[in-house]
């Protein structure tokens, strides 16, 4: 019975896909829109069908992860077409932030260490992006992004090399010192970094012409551009997510989890502790730099006050609340970041606080700091961990 069920899945999916294609082609306002919507549906159906196949995950884990990523990207991008510009802009920053959170989550999940300087590493990426784009305007954006990532990795190597050799809180302390120092580093090199006012990108990222066709006439080019940049950010985050999922599951990832749980055992089976820790830290710095560079791309500019110590603390709060050491925690953290400003101003309105008052302006810190403490004390794996626990409980109850 079960076997035939799983055999039937593929033909059923094909039929559903054909029906969806026909419906969307017929009901869409233009041919172009119809093709796009049906493509989105078909891709989602294909990925979902692939994921539902029983032994895909065990036999071809990489394919399964790719299908999962594609499905997520497909759904997310489809949704962005129905959102207004400001929500999309929030989502774009959230996507950039979730890249940073992925890196930090990997560092902690893999080596049991923590960085308090990922805001500064974001800044390294953000400023490298802006500086390079201002000096070499002809370099393709993808290459500039990679240069920013390389710079982040290099600084990570420099700081991680001494700190990761030591047990104890050295990495946390040193990255804190780096985060505090970063503002001063920026103003020391003000001829490059643009001093207090920061830098503008020489050419703004503009949506390609074909995207206009998906909108009703009269949509402002700004809306199109925001949508474009949001989708680019989501795709980059998806690629980062895919790589990270593979890294977590790889031999390196497993070795690193062993280090986190029992470093003595890890050394006994021949894993080089310092090397693994440095690699984890470099990966986390590189991811932070990529997130920062994406933020520059989204904002079209970069300004020094963004990359203060407070940002590093925010990053830590987000990943802890989302679920430190997990990949889904990074995605949850990114979504929280995207909408935190809206939620907090909503709370301010509901409680009737004076929005210009002392209390309202500090609400962000009070809420995030409080959640950070409560999460660590009562649910150390954050929302992702709590959800997983709940899921296991529900499943064990229903199955027996």
């Amino acid at each position: 019975m079960k076997l035939s069920e799983s055999r039937l899945r593929v033909p059923i999916a094909i039929v559903v896909a054909i029906v969806a294609t026909v419906i969307s082609l017929v009901s869409a306002a233009s041919v172009r829109e119809g093709v796009a919507i049906s493509l989105a549906f078909d891709l989602a159906i294909a990925c979902a069908t692939a994921l539902s196949l029983p032994d895909l995950k065990s036999r071809h884990p990489v394919v399964s992860r790719a299908a999962f990523t594609l499905l997520g990207l497909d759904v997310a991008i489809f949704i962005t077409f129905f959102l207004n510009s400001s929500t999309n802009f929030n989502l774009a920053t959230g996507a950039a932030m979730s890249i940073v959170l992925l890196g930090l989550s990997f560092l902690t999940g893999a080596s049991g260490q923590i960085s308090l300087g990922n805001g500064a590493f974001m800044g390294v990426g953000a400023f490298t992006m802006a500086i390079w784009a201002n000096h070499h305007a002809t370099t393709p954006i993808v290459l500039t992004l990679l240069i920013a990532v390389a710079c982040g990795a290099l600084v990570g190597l420099l700081l991680g090399l001494p700190a990761t050799r030591l047990r104890g809180p050295y990495l946390a302390g040193m990255t804190l010192a780096f985060a505090v120092a970063f503002t001063f580093i920026l103003s020391s090199f003000s001829s490059w970094t643009g001093g207090d006012s920061g830098l503008q990108l020489p050419t703004a990222a503009v949506a390609p012409r074909w995207l206009d066709g998906f909108f009703h006439a009269g949509t402002s080019p700004l809306t199109t551009t925001t949508l474009y940049i949001t989708d680019v950010a989501i795709i980059v985050a998806g690629v980062a997510f895919f790589f990270m999922a593979n890294l977590f599951a790889s031999r390196t990832g497993r070795a690193m989890r062993l280090i986190r749980d029992n470093d003595v055992a890890a050394e006994l089976v021949g894993i080089s502790l310092p090397r693994a820790r440095v690699v984890a830290f470099i990966v986390s710095s590189a991811y932070a730099a990529l997130g920062g560079a994406m933020l520059t791309l989204i904002d079209n500019s970069v300004s020094p006050p963004t990359y203060s110590f407070a940002l590093s603390v925010t990053i830590l709060s987000l990943i802890v609340i989302g679920g430190i050491g997990t990949i889904s925690g990074a995605v949850i953290g990114g979504i929280i970041y995207a909408f935190s400003t809206n939620v907090i101003s909503w709370i301010t309105n509901q409680t009737g606080l004076n929005p210009q008052g002392n209390f309202a302006s500090q609400l962000n810190g009070i809420i995030f700091g409080g959640l950070l403490i409560l999460t660590m004390l009562f649910a150390p794996l954050g929302i992702a961990g709590a959800a997983r626990q709940l899921w296991h409980r529900v499943r064990s109850r229903t199955s027996g």
């Binding site: 902690t108 049991g112 260490q113 923590i114 308090l116 420099l158 700081l159 090399l161 001494p162 700190a163 050799r165 030591l166 047990r167 104890g168 809180p169 050295y170 946390a172 302390g173 040193m174 804190l176 010192a177 780096f178 505090v180 120092a181 001063f184 580093i185 103003s187 020391s188 003595v264 110590f309 603390v313 830590l316 709060s317 802890v320 430190i324 002392n358 209390f359 302006s361 500090q362 609400l363 962000n364 810190g365 009070i366 995030f368 700091g369 409080g370 959640l371 950070l372 403490i373 660590m376 004390l377 150390p380």
Partner: protein
């Protein structure tokens, strides 16, 4: 009269000493907590900041400076003790990052609540002594009555801590519960109480530092007053060795002097960059710190 005393080098050394004493005390308070509870207290700057705000709230009721100082110390004792009991105690034996994260959260909350109650505008505290520099033969000398008071207080605190740990029964119990909690418990030492006491002591050292800082610097008392100072304090503690109180103090004082030279001969921005570079280099050469003997880790 004597040009040597007003020369650039002597001025730098003496001004550096002022900051150095502050860094030394912050480093000392970090080492105290690290040695006794194995926690690097990231709220080590914020807890005393909060206590200082509470204590100096008495100023508006026309209490004198010294009454405010006493109030600050009492607030520090309470905050330190309560923090250990409520926030840190549930985390003993948990992974190393848990206390780090909780204390960072506490740092955010304290800074935000302080800014919500007292605003983030700098509040200048009165000093008990004049901070106008003495003149020597028409040239400004690096010291003022306030600076002498500051350095003397710092030295006094350090000596008091050293005496407490080395020559008193309480100090012996504190050290014993840090090094061998199980054995101490068997020998009748109230280990839990000792840990709480360690946190109280460390917060009081922090409170004294913060009071000195906020009446000395032009910046005054702000919720973020100790963020930068914490970074320097950590650098001093890590270079000296997190296990070594003497190392923390000595390196802290030296770091203050080095910083003053950097400020004078390079610029203000370079100070923390050079300090960070010093930390990187020192950890490369001598990972466990200049003042601690390298020990093997037992499995």
């Amino acid at each position: 009269m004597d040009p040597f005393l007003t020369s650039r080098m002597v001025t730098d050394i003496l001004s550096g000493l002022t900051n150095g004493v502050i860094y030394g005390m912050v480093a000392l308070s970090l080492v105290l907590i690290w040695r006794s509870t194995g926690v690097l207290n990231f709220a080590q700057g914020a807890m005393p900041m909060f206590a200082t705000y509470i204590g100096f709230a008495l100023l508006s009721y026309h209490f004198s400076y010294w009454w405010c100082v006493i109030a600050c110390v009492i607030a520090g004792v309470l905050i330190g003790g309560l923090t250990e009991r409520l926030l840190v105690r549930p985390l003993y034996g948990k992974p190393e990052i848990n206390p780090i994260v909780v204390m960072v959260g506490f740092l955010i909350v304290l800074e935000a609540v302080a800014a919500a109650i007292w605003s983030s505008f700098p509040r200048s505290l009165p000093g008990p002594f004049s901070s106008i520099h003495w003149q020597l033969a028409g040239k400004p000398f690096a010291l003022s009555p306030f600076i002498v008071y500051e350095i003397a207080t710092g030295l006094l605190v350090m000596i008091a801590v050293a005496v407490l740990f080395r020559f008193t029964k309480l100090g012996l119990q504190l050290r014993a519960s840090a090094v061998a909690p199980e054995v101490s418990r068997l020998l009748g030492v109230r280990v839990g109480r000792m840990l709480t006491l360690g946190w109280m002591l460390s917060t009081v050292v922090g409170v004294i530092t913060t009071i000195l800082l906020s009446s000395n610097f032009f910046s005054g008392l702000t919720p973020q007053i100790n963020d930068g100072i914490f970074a320097f304090g950590f650098i001093a503690a890590a270079v000296g060795g997190l296990e070594s109180p003497v190392g923390a103090i000595v390196v802290g004082v030296l770091l203050g002097i080095v910083n003053q030279f950097v400020t004078d001969y390079v610029n203000q921005n370079a100070v923390i960059i050079i300090a960070l570079a010093l930390l990187v280099v020192s950890l490369m050469i001598r990972p466990s710190g200049v003042f601690t003997k390298p020990t093997e880790r037992r499995v």
